[in-house]
Protein backbone atom coordinates (compact mmCIF):
# COMPACT_ATOMS: atom_id res chain seq x y z
CA UNK A 1 0.00 0.00 0.00
CA UNK A 2 1.32 3.38 -0.97
CA UNK A 3 0.48 6.63 0.75
CA UNK A 4 -0.75 9.74 -1.05
CA UNK A 5 2.25 11.72 -2.21
CA UNK A 6 3.80 14.08 0.31
CA UNK A 7 6.83 16.29 0.54
CA UNK A 8 9.64 15.36 2.87
CA UNK A 9 12.07 17.48 4.79
CA UNK A 10 14.72 16.36 7.21
CA UNK A 11 15.36 18.55 10.24
CA UNK A 12 18.75 18.53 11.91
CA UNK A 13 17.67 20.56 14.93
CA UNK A 14 14.52 21.22 16.94
CA UNK A 15 14.47 24.83 15.66
CA UNK A 16 14.63 23.67 12.06
CA UNK A 17 11.81 21.19 12.64
CA UNK A 18 9.58 23.83 14.26
CA UNK A 19 10.32 26.25 11.41
CA UNK A 20 9.46 23.62 8.80
CA UNK A 21 6.18 22.82 10.56
CA UNK A 22 5.32 26.52 10.76
CA UNK A 23 5.89 27.04 7.03
CA UNK A 24 3.42 24.39 5.93
CA UNK A 25 -0.07 24.13 7.47
CA UNK A 26 -1.01 20.50 8.06
CA UNK A 27 2.59 19.29 8.07
CA UNK A 28 3.27 16.39 10.43
CA UNK A 29 6.27 15.28 12.43
CA UNK A 30 7.80 11.93 11.47
CA UNK A 31 9.88 10.09 14.06
CA UNK A 32 9.85 6.27 14.00
CA UNK A 33 6.75 6.35 11.84
CA UNK A 34 5.11 3.34 13.43
CA UNK A 35 1.84 5.08 14.17
CA UNK A 36 1.83 7.59 11.31
CA UNK A 37 3.00 5.48 8.36
CA UNK A 38 0.25 2.84 8.79
CA UNK A 39 -2.35 5.65 8.77
CA UNK A 40 -0.82 7.19 5.64
CA UNK A 41 -0.57 3.83 3.87
CA UNK A 42 -4.21 3.03 4.60
CA UNK A 43 -5.02 6.58 3.42
CA UNK A 44 -6.79 7.29 6.67
CA UNK A 45 -4.59 10.39 6.77
CA UNK A 46 -2.98 12.63 4.18
CA UNK A 47 -0.22 15.12 4.80
CA UNK A 48 1.32 17.82 2.61
CA UNK A 49 4.72 17.48 4.29
CA UNK A 50 6.49 15.15 6.67
CA UNK A 51 9.19 16.73 8.81
CA UNK A 52 11.59 13.95 9.79
CA UNK A 53 13.05 14.59 13.25
CA UNK A 54 14.76 11.20 13.55
CA UNK A 55 18.21 12.75 13.24
CA UNK A 56 17.69 15.44 15.89
CA UNK A 57 20.12 14.11 18.49
CA UNK A 58 18.93 16.36 21.30
CA UNK A 59 15.53 14.59 21.29
CA UNK A 60 16.89 11.10 21.93
CA UNK A 61 18.05 9.14 24.90
CA UNK A 62 16.94 7.71 28.21
CA UNK A 63 18.68 9.28 31.20
CA UNK A 64 18.35 9.95 34.90
CA UNK A 65 18.65 13.65 35.70
CA UNK A 66 18.62 14.90 39.32
CA UNK A 67 16.96 11.61 40.27
CA UNK A 68 14.18 11.99 37.68
CA UNK A 69 13.85 9.78 34.64
CA UNK A 70 13.93 11.79 31.42
CA UNK A 71 12.92 9.94 28.28
CA UNK A 72 13.57 11.81 25.05
CA UNK A 73 10.85 11.77 22.43
CA UNK A 74 13.06 9.77 20.06
CA UNK A 75 13.88 7.02 22.55
CA UNK A 76 12.81 3.69 21.05
CA UNK A 77 10.52 1.37 22.97
CA UNK A 78 13.33 -1.16 22.95
CA UNK A 79 15.73 1.28 24.61
CA UNK A 80 13.23 1.99 27.39
CA UNK A 81 12.39 -1.70 27.89
CA UNK A 82 16.08 -2.64 28.04
CA UNK A 83 17.27 0.25 30.23
CA UNK A 84 18.56 -0.96 33.60
CA UNK A 85 17.65 2.34 35.24
CA UNK A 86 14.07 2.19 33.96
CA UNK A 87 13.63 -1.45 34.88
CA UNK A 88 14.84 -0.77 38.41
CA UNK A 89 13.16 2.52 39.26
CA UNK A 90 10.27 2.82 36.79
CA UNK A 91 9.49 -0.86 36.35
CA UNK A 92 5.94 -0.39 35.08
CA UNK A 93 7.22 1.86 32.27
CA UNK A 94 9.85 -0.69 31.20
CA UNK A 95 7.23 -3.42 31.26
CA UNK A 96 4.75 -1.30 29.30
CA UNK A 97 7.43 -0.51 26.68
CA UNK A 98 8.19 -4.23 26.38
CA UNK A 99 4.50 -4.84 25.52
CA UNK A 100 4.30 -2.38 22.62
CA UNK A 101 3.71 -4.15 19.29
CA UNK A 102 6.43 -6.70 18.65
CA UNK A 103 10.25 -6.64 18.63
CA UNK A 104 10.50 -5.05 15.18
CA UNK A 105 8.00 -2.35 16.13
CA UNK A 106 9.93 -1.71 19.35
CA UNK A 107 13.14 -1.31 17.33
CA UNK A 108 11.71 1.66 15.41
CA UNK A 109 8.73 3.07 17.28
CA UNK A 110 9.45 6.03 19.54
CA UNK A 111 8.14 7.03 22.94
CA UNK A 112 7.27 10.53 21.73
CA UNK A 113 5.42 9.21 18.71
CA UNK A 114 3.46 6.79 20.83
CA UNK A 115 2.45 9.40 23.40
CA UNK A 116 1.59 12.01 20.75
CA UNK A 117 -0.48 9.54 18.75
CA UNK A 118 -2.82 9.24 21.76
CA UNK A 119 -4.22 5.78 21.15
CA UNK A 120 -6.29 4.99 24.27
CA UNK A 121 -5.40 1.29 23.99
CA UNK A 122 -1.66 1.88 23.75
CA UNK A 123 0.70 0.86 26.54
CA UNK A 124 2.85 3.87 27.32
CA UNK A 125 0.25 6.53 28.23
CA UNK A 126 -0.99 4.34 31.10
CA UNK A 127 2.53 4.01 32.53
CA UNK A 128 3.36 7.70 32.04
CA UNK A 129 0.13 8.61 33.83
CA UNK A 130 1.12 6.31 36.71
CA UNK A 131 4.40 8.18 37.21
CA UNK A 132 2.74 11.62 36.94
CA UNK A 133 4.85 12.28 33.87
CA UNK A 134 5.49 15.86 32.81
CA UNK A 135 5.65 16.26 29.05
CA UNK A 136 7.75 18.98 27.47
CA UNK A 137 6.23 20.55 24.38
CA UNK A 138 8.17 22.85 22.07
CA UNK A 139 6.80 25.48 19.71
CA UNK A 140 7.99 28.68 18.10
CA UNK A 141 6.99 30.44 21.33
CA UNK A 142 9.31 28.28 23.46
CA UNK A 143 8.81 25.32 25.77
CA UNK A 144 5.80 24.47 27.92
CA UNK A 145 5.18 21.65 30.37
CA UNK A 146 2.00 19.59 30.32
CA UNK A 147 1.13 17.08 33.03
CA UNK A 148 0.12 13.60 31.91
CA UNK A 149 -3.33 14.14 33.42
CA UNK A 150 -3.91 17.02 30.99
CA UNK A 151 -2.18 15.61 27.90
CA UNK A 152 -4.69 13.07 26.57
CA UNK A 153 -8.02 14.67 25.75
CA UNK A 154 -9.78 11.82 23.95
CA UNK A 155 -9.06 8.97 21.53
CA UNK A 156 -6.18 10.19 19.33
CA UNK A 157 -6.60 13.70 20.70
CA UNK A 158 -3.88 15.36 22.77
CA UNK A 159 -2.97 18.77 24.13
CA UNK A 160 -0.42 19.17 21.31
CA UNK A 161 -1.31 22.11 19.11
CA UNK A 162 -0.59 22.64 15.43
CA UNK A 163 3.11 23.13 14.90
CA UNK A 164 4.12 21.84 18.35
CA UNK A 165 6.57 19.01 19.01
CA UNK A 166 6.68 16.76 22.07
CA UNK A 167 10.34 16.67 23.06
CA UNK A 168 10.57 14.62 26.27
CA UNK A 169 8.74 13.21 29.24
CA UNK A 170 10.04 13.52 32.79
CA UNK A 171 9.06 11.22 35.66
CA UNK A 172 9.99 11.55 39.34
CA UNK A 173 11.13 8.44 41.23
CA UNK A 174 8.68 6.60 43.49
CA UNK A 175 10.99 6.80 46.51
CA UNK A 176 12.24 4.20 48.99
CA UNK A 177 10.31 0.99 49.76
CA UNK A 178 8.33 1.50 46.58
CA UNK A 179 7.82 -0.45 43.36
CA UNK A 180 5.56 -0.60 40.34
CA UNK A 181 4.15 -3.18 37.94
CA UNK A 182 2.28 -3.26 34.63
CA UNK A 183 -0.33 -5.80 33.62
CA UNK A 184 -1.99 -6.04 30.22
CA UNK A 185 -4.77 -8.09 28.70
CA UNK A 186 -3.95 -7.79 25.00
CA UNK A 187 -6.39 -8.17 22.15
CA UNK A 188 -5.32 -11.51 20.66
CA UNK A 189 -5.12 -10.18 17.10
CA UNK A 190 -3.98 -6.58 17.41
CA UNK A 191 -1.96 -6.83 20.61
CA UNK A 192 -3.45 -3.55 21.80
CA UNK A 193 -4.76 -3.42 25.35
CA UNK A 194 -8.32 -4.54 25.91
CA UNK A 195 -7.35 -3.47 29.39
CA UNK A 196 -4.03 -2.47 30.89
CA UNK A 197 -3.17 -1.43 34.41
CA UNK A 198 -0.07 0.19 35.84
CA UNK A 199 0.19 0.22 39.62
CA UNK A 200 2.67 1.47 42.19
CA UNK A 201 2.92 0.96 45.92
CA UNK A 202 5.04 2.72 48.55
CA UNK A 203 5.22 1.04 51.97
CA UNK A 204 5.74 2.50 55.43
CA UNK A 205 8.11 1.01 58.04
CA UNK A 206 5.44 -1.52 59.10
CA UNK A 207 4.86 -2.88 55.61
CA UNK A 208 1.55 -1.07 55.16
CA UNK A 209 0.75 1.01 52.13
CA UNK A 210 1.72 4.65 52.56
CA UNK A 211 0.83 5.57 48.98
CA UNK A 212 -0.72 3.65 46.09
CA UNK A 213 -1.22 4.62 42.47
CA UNK A 214 -3.36 2.90 39.86
CA UNK A 215 -3.61 3.92 36.19
CA UNK A 216 -6.04 2.14 33.88
CA UNK A 217 -5.74 2.08 30.09
CA UNK A 218 -7.75 0.57 27.27
CA UNK A 219 -11.02 0.54 29.19
CA UNK A 220 -12.03 4.18 28.74
CA UNK A 221 -11.54 6.79 26.02
CA UNK A 222 -8.59 8.23 27.90
CA UNK A 223 -6.41 6.41 30.46
CA UNK A 224 -7.33 7.46 33.99
CA UNK A 225 -6.04 7.33 37.55
CA UNK A 226 -8.33 5.32 39.82
CA UNK A 227 -8.49 7.66 42.80
CA UNK A 228 -10.94 5.56 44.86
CA UNK A 229 -8.78 2.45 44.56
CA UNK A 230 -5.66 4.43 45.39
CA UNK A 231 -7.29 5.77 48.56
CA UNK A 232 -8.64 2.36 49.55
CA UNK A 233 -5.13 0.86 49.48
CA UNK A 234 -3.66 3.27 52.04
CA UNK A 235 -2.97 1.63 55.37
CA UNK A 236 -3.49 -1.97 54.24
CA UNK A 237 -0.95 -4.73 53.73
CA UNK A 238 -0.86 -5.21 49.96
CA UNK A 239 -1.61 -8.93 49.83
CA UNK A 240 -3.82 -10.23 47.02
CA UNK A 241 -7.13 -10.34 48.98
CA UNK A 242 -6.61 -6.78 50.26
CA UNK A 243 -5.79 -5.59 46.74
CA UNK A 244 -8.91 -7.24 45.33
CA UNK A 245 -11.02 -5.52 47.94
CA UNK A 246 -9.41 -2.14 47.30
CA UNK A 247 -10.16 -2.14 43.57
CA UNK A 248 -13.89 -2.86 43.97
CA UNK A 249 -14.61 0.75 43.02
CA UNK A 250 -11.93 0.98 40.32
CA UNK A 251 -14.24 2.80 37.88
CA UNK A 252 -15.66 5.37 40.32
CA UNK A 253 -16.57 8.40 38.21
CA UNK A 254 -15.58 6.62 34.98
CA UNK A 255 -17.56 4.93 32.23
CA UNK A 256 -15.89 1.76 30.87
CA UNK A 257 -16.30 1.47 27.10
CA UNK A 258 -17.57 -1.62 25.29
CA UNK A 259 -16.99 -2.77 21.73
CA UNK A 260 -17.64 -5.88 19.66
CA UNK A 261 -14.70 -7.65 21.28
CA UNK A 262 -15.27 -6.83 24.94
CA UNK A 263 -18.41 -5.45 26.57
CA UNK A 264 -18.13 -2.64 29.10
CA UNK A 265 -18.94 -5.03 31.97
CA UNK A 266 -16.35 -7.55 30.83
CA UNK A 267 -13.69 -4.83 30.51
CA UNK A 268 -14.47 -3.56 33.98
CA UNK A 269 -14.28 -7.08 35.40
CA UNK A 270 -10.94 -7.81 33.74
CA UNK A 271 -9.60 -4.39 34.74
CA UNK A 272 -10.36 -5.08 38.43
CA UNK A 273 -8.57 -8.46 38.28
CA UNK A 274 -5.54 -6.94 36.58
CA UNK A 275 -5.48 -3.93 38.89
CA UNK A 276 -5.48 -6.18 41.95
CA UNK A 277 -2.73 -8.31 40.43
CA UNK A 278 -0.60 -5.28 39.51
CA UNK A 279 -1.02 -3.79 43.00
CA UNK A 280 -0.11 -7.07 44.70
CA UNK A 281 2.93 -7.45 42.44
CA UNK A 282 4.05 -3.88 43.16
CA UNK A 283 3.47 -4.43 46.87
CA UNK A 284 5.50 -7.64 46.92
CA UNK A 285 8.33 -5.99 44.98
CA UNK A 286 8.29 -2.99 47.34
CA UNK A 287 8.47 -5.29 50.38
CA UNK A 288 11.34 -7.23 48.81
CA UNK A 289 13.17 -3.91 48.32
Amino acid sequence: MIAEAFDYERADSLEAALAALARRPGAKVLAGGHSLLPLLKLRLAQVPLLVDIDGVGELGGVRVEDGDLVVGALARHRDVADSEAVRRGWTALAQAASHVGDPQVRSRGTVGGNLAHGDPASDLPTAVLLFDGVLTVASGAGLRQVSARDFWLGPFATALGEGEILTAVRMAPLGDRAASAYRKFPHPASGYAVVSVAAAVRLDGEGRVAEARVAVGGATYVPFRAAAAEAAMVGVRPDPPACREAVADLFAGQEPAGDMYASADYRAHIARLYAADALAAAGAAAAAG
Partner: protein
Protein backbone atom coordinates in the same frame (compact mmCIF):
# COMPACT_ATOMS: atom_id res chain seq x y z
CA UNK B 1 9.15 15.45 -5.17
CA UNK B 2 12.25 13.29 -5.50
CA UNK B 3 14.72 12.75 -2.69
CA UNK B 4 18.27 11.44 -2.98
CA UNK B 5 19.12 8.62 -0.59
CA UNK B 6 22.48 7.04 0.11
CA UNK B 7 22.58 3.92 2.23
CA UNK B 8 24.60 0.73 2.61
CA UNK B 9 22.74 -2.40 1.61
CA UNK B 10 24.45 -5.71 2.36
CA UNK B 11 27.73 -3.87 2.68
CA UNK B 12 27.54 -2.00 -0.61
CA UNK B 13 26.77 1.70 -1.03
CA UNK B 14 23.49 2.37 -2.82
CA UNK B 15 22.43 5.74 -4.14
CA UNK B 16 18.96 6.37 -5.58
CA UNK B 17 16.49 9.12 -6.32
CA UNK B 18 13.17 8.18 -4.80
CA UNK B 19 9.75 9.57 -3.98
CA UNK B 20 9.44 10.19 -0.22
CA UNK B 21 6.43 7.87 -0.06
CA UNK B 22 8.41 4.88 -1.41
CA UNK B 23 8.67 2.17 1.22
CA UNK B 24 12.04 0.65 1.99
CA UNK B 25 10.75 -2.80 1.03
CA UNK B 26 9.85 -1.55 -2.46
CA UNK B 27 13.22 0.11 -2.95
CA UNK B 28 14.89 -3.17 -1.98
CA UNK B 29 12.72 -5.35 -4.17
CA UNK B 30 11.87 -3.20 -7.17
CA UNK B 31 14.94 -0.99 -7.49
CA UNK B 32 17.68 -3.27 -6.17
CA UNK B 33 16.19 -6.62 -7.17
CA UNK B 34 16.56 -7.99 -3.64
CA UNK B 35 13.35 -9.99 -3.75
CA UNK B 36 14.27 -12.21 -0.80
CA UNK B 37 12.55 -9.62 1.39
CA UNK B 38 8.86 -10.46 1.04
CA UNK B 39 5.72 -8.37 1.30
CA UNK B 40 3.16 -10.34 3.26
CA UNK B 41 0.51 -8.29 5.02
CA UNK B 42 1.92 -4.84 4.23
CA UNK B 43 0.51 -3.65 7.58
CA UNK B 44 3.47 -4.26 9.94
CA UNK B 45 1.92 -7.44 11.33
CA UNK B 46 3.42 -10.46 9.61
CA UNK B 47 7.16 -9.74 9.62
CA UNK B 48 7.90 -11.25 6.19
CA UNK B 49 9.54 -7.93 5.21
CA UNK B 50 11.91 -7.89 8.20
CA UNK B 51 15.42 -6.58 7.50
CA UNK B 52 18.20 -5.37 9.76
CA UNK B 53 18.57 -1.60 10.03
CA UNK B 54 21.76 -0.70 11.89
CA UNK B 55 21.67 -4.24 13.29
CA UNK B 56 18.09 -4.10 14.57
CA UNK B 57 15.23 -6.07 13.04
CA UNK B 58 12.65 -3.71 11.50
CA UNK B 59 9.65 -4.18 9.23
CA UNK B 60 10.63 -2.64 5.92
CA UNK B 61 6.98 -2.12 4.92
CA UNK B 62 6.78 0.46 7.70
CA UNK B 63 10.01 2.31 6.96
CA UNK B 64 10.23 4.89 4.21
CA UNK B 65 13.22 4.53 1.92
CA UNK B 66 14.12 8.13 2.82
CA UNK B 67 14.25 7.14 6.50
CA UNK B 68 16.94 4.59 5.64
CA UNK B 69 19.12 7.32 4.14
CA UNK B 70 22.49 7.17 5.87
CA UNK B 71 21.77 3.82 7.49
CA UNK B 72 23.06 0.27 7.14
CA UNK B 73 20.58 -2.30 5.82
CA UNK B 74 21.07 -6.07 5.74
CA UNK B 75 18.59 -8.25 3.85
CA UNK B 76 18.43 -12.03 3.75
CA UNK B 77 20.69 -11.93 0.67
CA UNK B 78 23.41 -10.38 2.82
CA UNK B 79 22.84 -12.46 5.94
CA UNK B 80 25.59 -15.01 5.32
CA UNK B 81 28.16 -12.32 4.53
CA UNK B 82 27.26 -10.51 7.75
CA UNK B 83 29.22 -13.10 9.76
CA UNK B 84 32.83 -14.29 9.52
CA UNK B 85 33.51 -16.98 6.93
CA UNK B 86 34.63 -19.27 9.76
CA UNK B 87 31.10 -19.28 11.13
CA UNK B 88 29.46 -20.33 7.84
CA UNK B 89 28.95 -23.77 6.41
CA UNK B 90 28.37 -24.29 2.69
CA UNK B 91 28.16 -20.54 2.27
CA UNK B 92 25.23 -20.33 4.64
CA UNK B 93 24.74 -18.35 7.81
CA UNK B 94 24.24 -20.72 10.76
CA UNK B 95 20.60 -19.64 10.87
CA UNK B 96 20.08 -20.68 7.25
CA UNK B 97 21.92 -23.92 7.84
CA UNK B 98 19.91 -24.65 10.98
CA UNK B 99 16.59 -23.96 9.23
CA UNK B 100 17.54 -26.54 6.59
CA UNK B 101 18.74 -29.09 9.14
CA UNK B 102 15.87 -28.66 11.61
CA UNK B 103 13.22 -28.34 8.88
CA UNK B 104 12.34 -24.84 10.05
CA UNK B 105 10.19 -24.04 7.03
CA UNK B 106 7.52 -25.41 4.76
CA UNK B 107 6.44 -22.96 2.07
CA UNK B 108 9.25 -20.58 2.96
CA UNK B 109 7.36 -17.33 2.50
CA UNK B 110 7.89 -16.11 6.04
CA UNK B 111 11.41 -17.53 6.30
CA UNK B 112 13.52 -14.52 5.23
CA UNK B 113 11.82 -12.36 7.83
CA UNK B 114 12.15 -15.03 10.50
CA UNK B 115 15.87 -15.36 9.73
CA UNK B 116 16.43 -11.63 10.09
CA UNK B 117 14.48 -11.45 13.37
CA UNK B 118 16.52 -14.45 14.53
CA UNK B 119 19.75 -12.71 13.54
CA UNK B 120 18.85 -9.70 15.69
CA UNK B 121 18.11 -12.02 18.63
CA UNK B 122 21.37 -13.98 18.30
CA UNK B 123 23.40 -10.77 18.11
CA UNK B 124 22.11 -9.88 21.59
CA UNK B 125 21.61 -13.30 23.14
CA UNK B 126 23.99 -16.12 22.18
CA UNK B 127 22.09 -18.75 24.16
CA UNK B 128 18.35 -17.97 23.97
CA UNK B 129 15.84 -20.13 25.82
CA UNK B 130 12.78 -21.41 24.00
CA UNK B 131 10.80 -18.57 25.61
CA UNK B 132 13.38 -16.01 24.43
CA UNK B 133 13.07 -17.27 20.85
CA UNK B 134 9.28 -17.24 20.90
CA UNK B 135 9.29 -13.70 22.25
CA UNK B 136 11.81 -12.55 19.64
CA UNK B 137 9.67 -14.03 16.86
CA UNK B 138 6.40 -12.56 18.13
CA UNK B 139 6.38 -10.20 15.17
CA UNK B 140 6.75 -12.96 12.56
CA UNK B 141 3.75 -14.98 11.42
CA UNK B 142 4.05 -18.44 9.86
CA UNK B 143 0.91 -19.97 8.39
CA UNK B 144 2.43 -23.46 7.84
CA UNK B 145 4.45 -24.83 10.65
CA UNK B 146 3.07 -24.08 14.09
CA UNK B 147 6.50 -22.62 14.98
CA UNK B 148 7.92 -25.73 16.69
CA UNK B 149 10.64 -26.37 14.14
CA UNK B 150 11.28 -22.66 13.66
CA UNK B 151 12.03 -22.28 17.36
CA UNK B 152 14.18 -25.42 17.30
CA UNK B 153 16.06 -24.09 14.26
CA UNK B 154 16.89 -20.75 15.89
CA UNK B 155 18.17 -22.56 18.99
CA UNK B 156 20.22 -24.92 16.82
CA UNK B 157 21.69 -21.91 15.02
CA UNK B 158 22.66 -20.41 18.37
CA UNK B 159 24.37 -23.67 19.27
CA UNK B 160 26.24 -23.80 15.94
CA UNK B 161 27.37 -20.20 16.35
CA UNK B 162 28.61 -20.78 19.90
CA UNK B 163 30.48 -23.95 18.91
CA UNK B 164 32.18 -22.30 15.96
CA UNK B 165 33.02 -19.15 17.87
CA UNK B 166 34.62 -21.26 20.63
CA UNK B 167 36.46 -23.41 18.08
CA UNK B 168 37.60 -20.27 16.27
CA UNK B 169 38.81 -18.67 19.48
CA UNK B 170 40.95 -21.73 20.25
CA UNK B 171 42.66 -21.86 16.86
CA UNK B 172 45.41 -19.75 15.35
CA UNK B 173 43.88 -17.01 13.20
CA UNK B 174 45.45 -18.40 10.00
CA UNK B 175 43.34 -21.56 10.31
CA UNK B 176 40.14 -19.94 11.49
CA UNK B 177 38.65 -19.52 8.02
CA UNK B 178 38.07 -23.21 7.35
CA UNK B 179 34.28 -23.05 7.64
CA UNK B 180 33.62 -25.04 4.48
CA UNK B 181 32.85 -22.36 1.92
Amino acid sequence: MQYRVLMRVNGRPVERETEPRTLLVHLLRDELGLTGTHVGCDTSQCGACTVLMDGRAVKSCTVLAVQADGHEIVTVEGLADSVDAALRYGGLHPLQEAFARAHGLQCGFCTPGVLMAGADLLSRNPDPSEADVREALEGNLCRCTGYENIVAAVRLAAELLRERQQAGAGRPAAHAAGGGD
